[in-house]
Symmetry: C2
Subunit: 349 residues, 2 copies
DNA sequence: CGCCCTTGTCAAAACGTTTCAAATTTCGGA
DNA sequence: TCCGAAATTTGAAACGTTTTGACAAGGGCG
């Protein structure tokens, strides 16, 4: 493998000049630069990352630490993110180091990875309010970027979708169809996106003059079983008290809702409308539902390029506060939503 | 961060001596070694990996390159392996670099990772016969280890379960229960484990004097939908031609088989016995089946420690040919298997 | 006293790059 | 012809480690 010295020897130049020529420094003669470029190509020169790292202190790698959870495998978003990020990063010539965190102390894994001086920054997902990982990284002024945010006003680099808007849009659709009793099967209560969606759910419901019942709100993992259990509880309430529409924070939840409706012989969309947010493979999954599921959607993959860009900017020295990317979800109206069924004692038939 | 020089200065020693003391070289006074150890602890010394790498040429990292497949997310084993490996490697002070391969050329991703001189070796999964990745890595004498093997007699380091034995055991159980018409819902035909299991399936069937019908053998991804479709085809054959038992190469397949049996009102195990190999979370998933599923089992996680050890040995210079770890699957008899139903025209009843 | 061997230590080189400070060349203008 | 500034190029230091070859001290032996 050719080195800077080799190229220098080939052309009668010092390694220093070769380095500057290849790195685009302005003070090198353009004719010399060309000669260097040609020789580097010819000799198949590849900068030795390790040497670069040693002198610059940068490693060209970023870390991601997964927190082990027993039901992780039921959540396909993580896998998507992993592969999407790895692809996005490698386009930018950055590599991804993976670790899993099985310890009780959530920051221990970060310390360990840092102590080997092998990553320039981190990518975090699923932040919680008062997330100790974020506190640790901020306290040590380490570059990181978060998928999601642990507070609505976050002063670190993050990518997030506009959770309030998608809750607003979903409620607006349902109320405009005449629904007033709307259930909400949400993500885990500790997670910020769930809090944001719930908050706006309440606001939008109030704006439409629809009541919000706490027993029609449930929190939990984005799994089919949680969706099933929640919907079963909501839908087995007496006629007139049960929701005519359910909003879900994920398509897996919606799958559970569909199953519960099926088991209770409640027809979708005639007797129950369902809207979900789809952060997996927008369109692909939702289309396969029977009937096809109305969704707000933004894929995990869409987050990967912005996340990579933000992190690279941060590592390059950009101030953390300004770095953010908020994406609006798209709306896909499919067949799981319809007009609210006529209520008992309703004027129309 | 303290360096060797710092420790040397602290104790009036040269960095060279400090290095030798910490790395256990014999020619250093044991009293000196103790002083060095103490000082290193006190100053919180951590060897700088980058500098180590530059001089030794080793990076302390290994790479894993995932091939993107559209239905990847349905396959939870990969995720298991990723997290398990990462944990196993980090115990051994090795880090895992992840990349995804979206290119047409399967070796391009390996070349790219190598050109950055950042990994010492690779971990491969799901090898195919004549796998170009294996050919490439062997041709360049690069350390790697494979989960599975692309030929029964493989001359590279690999971990594998004894696929022939588990096929033999499963068939033996079923034939001893009186089953003679046994379906086999297998993995993809190109994959070696599937070929191995099929081969032994035929052998064991022949040994029991049971006929093997090609139409009762199906190949495909280890997904529920493939299991469902295959079982539906097998079970909707006319009475007397349809199998009384089905062997599955994965629990996801078994889930599909259960669903098909349910849809066709075929009772398990009264009218149909099901055995599957469970490489996910042995016991945990199979227990949740209704009725609980009889399995041969070895978890993905069990592979991780041996894989890590084999790769580290190989990187340290061990000859590739001898490095192998073959694990026998365990047998869990549950309630999805029972005596073969009496055949029409059978003597009894 | 000279020789060799062992033990413990060290200085220096090496890995390949970046970058600082200095040296050299070039050139326009006086 | 000379000066100073600008344009190029260079040597050397630095990053933190491993490793080679050398060396000093001490001991045993003839």
């Amino acid at each position: 493998m050719a080195t800077l010295k080799d190229i220098g020897a080939e052309l009668g130049l010092s390694p220093a000049t070769v380095s500057r020529a290849l790195n685009g420094f302005p003070e090198v003669n353009s004719e010399t630069r060309e000669r260097v470029r040609e020789a580097a190509d010819r000799l198949g020169y590849r900068p030795n990352r390790v040497a670069q790292r040693l002198v610059t202190g940068r490693s060209g790698m970023v870390g991601m630490i997964l927190r082990m959870r027993p039901d992780m495998r039921e959540d396909p978003t993580l896998f998507d993110m992993l592969t999407g990020l790895s692809a996005a990063l490698s386009l930018r010539d950055v590599d991804l180091v993976l670790a899993v965190d099985q310890e009780t102390d959530p920051v221990a894994a970060y310390e360990r990875m840092l102590s080997r001086s092998l990553v320039d920054g981190f990518i975090l997902a699923a932040p919680e309010p008062d997330d100790p990982r974020i506190a640790y990284l901020q306290a040590h002024d380490l570059p990181f970027v978060v998928h999601g945010r642990h507070a609505f006003q976050a002063d670190y680099p993050f990518y997030d979708i506009d959770n309030r808007k998608l809750a607003r849009d979903s409620v607006a659709l349902l109320t405009s169809l005449g629904h007033r009793r709307i259930g909400f099967v949400n993500g885990e209560a500790e997670l910020t996106y769930a809090q944001d969606r719930l908050r706006e759910f309440r606001v939008a419901m109030a704006a439409a003059g629809a009541p919000v019942e706490d027993s029609l709100i449930s929190h939990g993992r984005l799994t089919e079983s949680h969706g099933y259990a929640s919907a079963l509880a909501m839908l087995s309430r007496p006629e007139g008290l049960r929701p005519t529409a359910i909003l879900c924070s994920g398509t897996m939840l919606a799958k559970g809702v569909y199953r519960a409706a099926h088991d209770l012989a409640i027809a979708i969309p005639q007797a129950l409308s369902v809207v979900a947010h789809d952060d997996i493979w927008p369109g692909l999954e939702a289309d396969r539902f029977d009937p096809p599921l109305t969704t707000t959607a933004k894929s995990m993959r869409a987050a990967c390029d912005p996340l990579a860009d933000l992190l690279i900017q941060r590592i390059a020295g950009a101030a953390p506060a300004g770095l953010r990317h908020i994406e609006e979800a798209d709306f896909f109206l499919r067949e799981s939503t319809g007009p609210a069924p006529p209520r008992e004692g309703d004027a129309r038939r």
